[in-house]
Amino acid sequence: MVVGHWNATGRLAWALCVALIGVNLLSSEALAQEEETKPQSPSSDGVYWLEEPAEVPYVLAGQFHKSNKGLDVTLHMAGGEKGTDGLALEISQGKARFLRISDGKASPLGVPGDISFLGDEPVSFSLHRTSWQLDLLCSGRVVCQAWSYAPAATVERVGWQGGEGQVEDLRVQPVGSIYKADSFMRIETGEGEWEPGRGQWRQRALREDQQADTMDATKTTNPFSYFGEVKGDEAPAVSTLGYWFWTDYRVSASVRGGQDSVIGLVVCYQDADNYLGVRWSSAVAAQEPHTLKLVAVEGGQEKVLAQTRAGFLPDQWYRLSLGYSGGKLVCWVDGRKRLVADTILFGEGAAGLLADGAEGIFFDDVLVEDWEVVYDDFSAPAPGKWIAQGGDWQVTGGVIKVTSGGGEALVVTGRPEWANYSAGVAVKVNSGGAGIVVGAGETTQVAAMLQRTGKTDRLAILRKLGQQGHWEELVAVPVSAAASANNGWRRLEIDVEDGYIKASCDGVTARAFVPGVGKGRVGLVSPPASSAAFDNFSLNFIPPPPTSHLVKEFTDVQQHFEMAEWASTRHAWVPVAQELGVPEADNPKYEGQWVTKGDFHGDYSVQIPLADIGAKDFIMTVVLDAEPGWQGTGVGVQIQGKQGQKVLTFTVTSGEEKVTQQQVEVTEPTASVTCRRKSEFVAIAVDGKVIYSGKLLPPEGTTVLAQPAQTGESK
């Protein structure tokens, strides 16, 4: 650069150049961000496409900016081979609706919504695109929804085009499975991932807890907890975890409060003045005792959505859960559903813990996990939600029914990936029958069918193999005549969990075990020549049971004596001899036998990973439902392997009686064996494939006794 003798003009030019560089450097960040999110110009099809495609599931976020003539824009999620084929969200004349675009032609999808509330200021929106459902959330509410299946990892181009107004700051946020847990076992200054909002929050250890004096193991789950209390005038205290785009999840926590405290959980948290929550007062509170209520807090104003009389006992631990999915807000106490409410507010947001009242609240064992429920009261047609696969179906008069076609009629909903759920529907059978199908479209389908023959009703579990197969009856039970007070309506339900089927209708239950069933869409079926209607469909996913690991850590309870008495599903396994307190001389009788102090009441599954199969001989025995020391009781599963062989021999006994012996050939040196008890059924699987199932047990279970190898050792 040449610098010479400058006159005033030259110096002015220098100053302008320097200023130009400085200003642009300062604004470069903003410019870079804006340039990234807003393409320079639309493509030839008039769409401002984002540079990177989006992989399902994702959230498309941005801002609607209305012009003085209104807002007329379309968001595209193009998964088709050409142009804008795929899905779209159209905003026009104050209405929002989803569309399916195929060969350039648009057809409506789902339920439209009103968006005329948009003002002149830019308004943020988020469009949730899962592999089955689309939701538009704007201004703190769910505006419209649609349903269209796409396998996970489907890639879609996303962009917008518009007539009036525009979309700004369009960006993609990938979405994954939600799972966060916290038992607060860390130093007192560690916040973990929690973001305290209002109030005062801190880690607490047992030794400063008032329980330290009593060391009462029946009242909590481990020595650590998270304590929240109101500070000053800002109430309630809230501490949150998670992200703005979270939806379809449940938050659970062990909770303990004092006489004048209010225990709470929060979902769809936007900020301290906007969230959904549950609030619970004690049975002896001075103000508003015995109250459990679901609330929506909007702009700092609380609105009660549902309420029931239920107060907690001061200083007692409980398990409180709050879930949000698809506009449903549900609360559980100690695993029992207590309140349900509907709301269109927020639809997304972080999870949180809430403490209010004069005393603080202890929280422990927090769990945030995916939770999805599906409801349909058929109050209005929702194109795309139910797909007819036989017969003509129509949503009319608040029900769904077959309108034409004499053969078997089937309408399905959901995703093929759905697994292990409980589905229910109200049915009114005039003739023939009505049922719910699980695994619709899969190789093996199972149906819970209410059949009417004359004036007699029966509940049957049916199985169909292959798409063209016939329904085969597995079990059937009579059902009493429909109560006239219900105008002929009955509630039909089916649970499916890894092959275990339970069908019920008005208190009557039938059970069966069908290996391989547990996954697939859900359908409503009407047999040939039937006349029936369906209403109030619901589907809940059965959560996986809590797990416990057989580990060597903390088996030395001498060092951590205070943990020896804590019963939890994660407690260590201890030698049977120690648990029974047998004299030392009798110890050899129980050598190699362990029992867990975890609480496994009812159904459970024991998973045994095997390694180095064929490296040496081994024998391992798992006994289900036997008390320690009660030899020859329960259901025994003996697994035997021999050196040089990739064959496992399974011997199943019930008490003293041998039930079956099977051999399974494995191809790898490792295998996972699962011994599962579900109600009265026992199922044994190797690498997920069921090799044996039978009805061997009474409905209730107790403890599990595992005996490791007697010769050689397998990990």
Binding site: V3, A13, W14, C17, N24, A32, Y179, A181, M185, R186
Partner: protein, 182 residues
């Protein structure tokens, strides 16, 4: 005349600065844990079907576990070299798997600076992303070291991004163009 040319030259240069910066988008650097430049025991490579590419690096579980509260047994580590394309403030994220609350963190050392740690959350026995600190990085090569803080800690991927709003939720695609010597 020379002054005029000088003036024009200055205007051209300043415009070039503006344009080059304007075209700079958000940066996201993703590195696979097993694509280290160097590794020192006890840090080791492990395999899992749930990890990206089937592999991860980890401080293997020791027995007894969680009893030594004075610090880690060694300074086992994995060092990564990355070429940062432009200067900025980068948020660190790591896709991790913790054995339990006594095996849920790593030390992180950037360019030989003061160690910080990442982790200490309560989600165990599941692969998940944890948020770390933000670092001011210049354009050019930088070293990121993940070091033993607690045994039982696994690292599948880590991510550095200038996008303060971005939250990784799934396995990310590695950005090989930013790896150095690997």
């Amino acid at each position: 005349m020379r002054r005029t040319w000088s003036l024009l030259l200055m205007l051209v240069l300043s415009s070039a600065v503006v344009l080059s910066v304007a075209w700079a988008a958000q940066v996201k650097i993703v590195v696979e844990g097993e694509h280290y430049n160097s590794i020192k025991p006890s840090m080791a490579v492990g395999t899992s079907q749930s990890a990206s590419g089937g592999k991860f690096v980890h401080i293997p579980l020791r027995r007894p576990h969680g009893e030594n509260e004075s610090g880690p047994y060694d300074n086992g580590n994995a060092v990564f070299k990355i070429n940062v394309p432009r200067a900025g403030i980068y948020r660190l994220w790591a896709r991790t798997h913790w054995h339990d609350e006594c095996g849920n963190s790593f030390f992180v050392v950037v360019d030989g600076g003061q160690p910080s740690w990442i982790g200490e959350d309560g989600t165990v026995q599941k692969w998940h992303w944890v948020k770390g600190k933000s670092y001011t990085l210049s354009a050019g090569v930088h070293t990121i070291k993940f070091q033993n803080r607690e045994d039982g800690a696994k690292l599948d991927q880590f991510l550095l991004t200038t996008d303060t709003r971005y939250v990784p939720t799934r396995i990310e695609k590695e950005t090989k163009q930013y790896l150095v010597g690997n």
